[in-house]
């Protein structure tokens, strides 16, 4: 686990509050705006940042993130620009953990080792690669762990007791519990069911459990944050960005729209155990 990730979750545990993990798509709608949003996230209440890497065929994503990926790619976003964003962010913040999230093919084409070395150098702490289950650990997970980068695995409602040890093996940083069977930005999760699942996973690991998929407002975030070590919000932020655009281009309120949503939901996360 990187120091940044360890310190952040230790500090949050001390304060007895869940982490607020915010996802947005890098390069959406353009680099400059995207960097500005990223730099504003910690002050708006984000504890961990998930930086989306666009892919042409996001099979696990709903319409909001599909559209964000399309905008990002239209602006010629790519992995070197993703690293550039992280370097820009690290100029002023060397404490907030950054996790990149995306699909495997762009990394495979870039070269897995090259990707990991450059990610580490840029100041990235870990990665969530949707289409690399434990069965494919040799591809990226093992080389990432060798470089002391976190490989964060998704556990889902279909992860039964038999499967769980496999999912937890080689996982580091935190466990991302996907609260519903489905794609990003779909139905809201049931807090009681989520709490039971979190307890079930916690029995098998000391890692923090962050819960995401379907959390769109402060009230839901508070409900999830009571039991989970972290709450992940993505589509709601991505949608706030989309709603601010004019003909696909950033406007004067794009950054504030995104950060306002983050601030609002942060209140729910911070008040979860109050």
């Amino acid at each position: 686990m990187t120091q940044r990730m360890t310190y952040r979750f230790a500090k949050l545990a001390e304060e007895n509050r869940p982490a607020f993990v915010t996802y947005f798509m890098g390069g959406d709608p353009d680099m400059e705006t995207s960097i500005e949003i990223m730099k504003g996230l910690p002050a708006a209440g984000a504890d961990v940042i998930e930086l989306g890497m666009p892919f042409s065929d996001p099979m696990a994503d709903g319409p909001s993130i599909q559209a964000a990926a399309k905008r990002s790619l239209a602006g010629k976003h790519n992995l070197p620009k993703c690293f550039e964003m992280v370097r820009a962010f690290r100029e002023t913040d060397n404490e907030t953990p950054i996790v990149v999230m995306g699909y495997y093919n762009p990394i495979y084409i870039y070269g897995a080792e090259r990707f990991l070395d450059e990610a580490k150098a840029a100041g990235i702490d870990g990665m969530i690669i949707v289409d690399l289950p434990p069965e494919m650990d040799e591809e990226l997970c093992i080389p990432a762990l060798e470089r002391d980068l976190n490989f964060i695995r998704l556990a889902t409602p279909t992860t039964d007791a038999k499967r769980l040890p496999k999912v937890l093996s080689n996982t580091s940083g935190f466990v991302y519990y996907v609260s519903i069977n489905g794609i990003t930005g779909s139905a809201a999760p049931n807090p009681d069911a989520v709490a039971a699942s979190v307890a079930h996973i916690k029995a098998s690991t000391d890692l923090p459990i962050c819960v995401g998929f379907g959390v769109t407002n402060a009230e839901q975030a508070a409900g999830i944050g009571r039991a989970a070590d972290g709450v992940v919000v993505g589509s709601a932020i991505v949608k706030a960005i989309a709603d601010s655009l004019d003909g696909g281009k950033a406007t004067s309120h794009t950054v504030s729209n995104a950060l306002d949503v983050v601030s609002q939901i942060a209140k729910g996360v911070r008040g979860a155990r109050a």
């Binding site: 065929d57 099979m59 762009p106 289950p133 069965e135 279909t158």
Partner: protein
């Protein structure tokens, strides 16, 4: 890329579901338990005589197998070289080879206790075959089809509706097979408990490439027997079109270890490989990861997937089954592109010479036969997989030829 020749070309996939570096299980965690369950169910079914018997019964009495191996006498005479035979899978119930796979998979879905079917389709042949087995076995069925394909394959859309299936027109991306497959995967991840995903080609996460190949291999097995009966020997060459590659792997697989048999796979060259309007993943693509497997893909230098383009909706896919990728690297199969215009000419020639209206997909294979047969000896033999009939394509062909209907 070259790999060392194995002792047998028929041993794949390995325990990890890979053919060399190709294949694998690149899917979201939500789907993993389902994919492992399918793997188990298929391993059991393979060793269950009752499963084999039921499939054989359906193949014979429902599909009408074995399909004939037909000597195309007038075409052979016209080309003036090798003898040309057609494996006539276009005569199957539903009009293509797709039914072979659908019957096998619906029996698996039933064994697994799944209650709902989803499928993706390009030309609509797999959609029709899926809707057919869904009706036959009393399953609700939702077929994802790209909006562009819904338009250009309208007769098949209506057939699916008649059979009781629902059609979801997919507007994401370019609205073709790739986008339909993305949507089907999104549905599956959402309805993973009760839904069986009936993949139409020998691609996707393991074990799909293996089981689709096995169900389609009935084509090659029959061809071997029928060829021995007709000519007393194996053919010199096999030719089949490849989109995802299921009809081709079905014909090729039983022959892979017969060294004397040359094997040719024909990709959609579209409007030419120089531009971006083609679907020749093997000839013009590079290895990457999409839709659950590593295989040759049409992609940018940054690993973003490109849209394919072909006059044939069934070949309009930027990837290819992983076993074909491995067969290409190993050199066992030779893959070549055929352009839209060549396929159109072959289509018309077959109509007039043999009284058979072929689908645009095997018309690509036929165009390659037309190139090769004249240069071969008269005692040599080519078998081509005539994997689909062309009724669905008459409007597309009419439009391409500038005919008002």
């Amino acid at each position: 890329m070259n790999v060392q020749n194995p002792n047998s070309f028929k041993n794949g996939p390995d325990e990890e579901g890979q053919f060399g570096i190709y294949g694998g299980r690149f899917v979201a965690e939500t789907l993993m338990p389902n994919i492992l369950e399918l793997d188990e169910a298929y391993k059991e079914a393979k060793n269950d005589k009752a499963f084999a018997d039921e499939l054989a019964y359906l193949n014979k009495h429902y599909t009408g197998r074995p399909s004939p191996l037909y000597f195309a006498e007038r075409l052979t005479e016209h080309l003036g070289g090798a003898k040309v035979y057609f494996k006539r899978d276009e005569l199957n119930h539903t009009g293509s080879h797709k039914i072979n796979n659908c019957l096998g998979q619906i029996l698996l879905a039933k064994r697994m206790g799944k209650t709902r079917l989803i499928a993706e389709t390009g030309a609509g042949q797999h959609g029709v075959a899926s809707a057919t087995v869904a009706a036959r076995f009393g399953y609700p069925c939702l077929v994802y089809m790209g909006a562009k394909d819904v338009h250009r394959q309208s007769p098949n859309v209506f057939r699916m509706k008649l059979l009781g299936a629902e059609i979801e027109s997919v507007t994401a991306g370019a609205g073709t097979l790739k986008d339909a497959m993305n949507e089907a995967l999104r549905d599956w991840v959402t309805n993973v408990e009760d839904t069986y995903y009936l993949i139409g080609t020998a691609a996707g996460p393991h074990p799909y490439p293996e089981l689709v190949r096995d169900f389609q291999s009935v084509i090659g097995k029959e061809t071997k027997e029928q060829m021995m009966e007709a000519e007393g020997r194996l053919p010199d060459m096999l030719v089949a079109s490849v989109g995802g590659g299921s009809n081709a792997i079905g014909l090729f697989h039983p022959f892979l270890d017969d060294d004397a048999v040359q094997i040719v796979g024909v990709e959609a060259g579209g409007k030419g490989l120089d531009g971006d309007e083609h679907c020749a993943s093997l000839t013009a693509g590079s290895p990457g990861v999409l839709h659950g497997n590593r295989t040759y893909l049409l992609q940018t230098s940054e690993g973003q997937i490109e849209e394919g383009a072909s006059i044939s909706a069934g070949l309009d896919y930027p990837g290819i089954g992983p076993e074909h990728s491995w067969l290409k690297d190993s050199g066992r199969v030779n893959y070549v592109p055929i352009m839209d215009v060549e396929a159109l000419e072959a289509f018309q020639l077959l109509c007039r010479l043999e009284g058979i209206i072929p689908a645009l997909e095997p018309s690509h294979a036929l165009a390659e036969v037309i190139k090769r047969a004249p240069g071969m000896d008269k005692d040599q033999i080519i078998v081509m997989n005539l994997c689909g009939r062309g009724d669905k394509d008459v409007f597309t062909v009419g439009e391409a030829l500038g005919v008002e209907m």
